[in-house]
């Protein structure tokens, strides 16, 4: 889905990820999908998760459109327990970012307002738009993020190194 800009920089627990409405919607419907898994990693301290009130409204609309009452309960539970911080609602985002589709501008503006390194979205059109026109933050799907970015996390890398340590290492010290 994405071209991975800024991939030379490692990520850590403080790296801000901005979750789009598409991810909040998907996380509500599928606890085993990439969105729910990435939000769970934020809860476990791997990243700093962000959203905005406006993407939450969009996600709620999507949940109501497709879901039943039980799904709305799931959505409320997700928001209650997801460790998301809320980016400020931007002023006139479409005017500030004329290259972005006016309907997407508030997402891009909010992601920039919280200094997000990555905008996590399942909307390929939005990702392409941001990566081609703007590029900062990098728009990427949850699955691609898990595959391409998570392995560069400092703690993930340490874990991998520790896991690969030869058995004789302890004897040498």
């Amino acid at each position: 889905m994405c071209c991975l800009l800024g991939s030379d920089m490692a990520v850590d627990h403080a790296t801000p990820l901005f979750f789009d409405a598409t991810c909040l919607y998907a996380a509500t419907h599928s606890p085993t999908g990439g969105s729910a898994r990435l939000i769970r990693l934020c809860r476990l301290g791997w990243f700093a998760g962000w959203a905005s009130q406006l993407v939450m409204v969009e996600a709620e609309r999507a949940v109501r459109r497709k879901g039943m009452a039980a799904t709305l309960v799931e959505y409320e539970r997700l928001l209650r327990f997801a460790p998301l911080q809320y980016a400020p609602v931007p002023v006139s985002p479409a005017t500030r970012y004329p290259g972005i589709n006016p309907k997407d501008a508030h997402v891009y503006a909010a992601a920039r307002a919280c200094n997000a390194r990555y905008l996590i979205t399942l909307d390929k059109r939005l990702a392409d738009e941001i990566n081609v026109l703007a590029g900062d933050p990098t728009a990427i799907s949850p699955g691609d993020f898990l595959q391409q970015v998570l392995p560069t996390h400092l703690d993930y890398a340490m874990e991998s190194t520790a896991g690969q340590r030869p058995e004789g290492d302890d004897a040498e010290t």
């Binding site: 889905m1 301290g45 209650r80 002023v91 309907k103 949850p142 699955g143």
Partner: protein
């Protein structure tokens, strides 16, 4: 007091929104507000109240997106993990990183 609560009673939600208690009950009945019924009383998450305000905003400078059923189905499909992505996620999920 309402500033610090995560959960409202209908009366507190009414005070927060500065509408009548009956209006809050009407919002609960027609689904505009999300609430839980615990026995004979309702409790309303603060986030639901705040989202109601945002969804009825008057700011013309912000346009929100609406998705079609086909869009939403495509998002769920795109959310599926490959076996490799699943393995990477599972490996990270076993660790809780210390608060820093």
């Amino acid at each position: 007091m309402e500033q610090s609560r995560d959960i409202f009673t209908p009366d507190q939600a009414a005070a927060f929104l500065q509408v009548s208690r009956e209006t809050v009950y009407r919002y609960l009945r027609d689904g505009r507000l999300f609430g839980s019924r615990l026995g004979r009383v309702y409790r309303i998450p603060r986030q639901s109240v705040e989202r109601l305000l945002w969804s009825t905003r008057t700011r013309a400078d912000i346009v929100l997106r609406d998705y079609t059923d086909a869009d939403l189905d495509a998002f769920l499909e795109a959310d599926r993990l490959t076996p490799q992505q699943e393995a990477i996620a599972r490996r990270a999920e076993v660790r809780v990183l210390p608060a820093r």
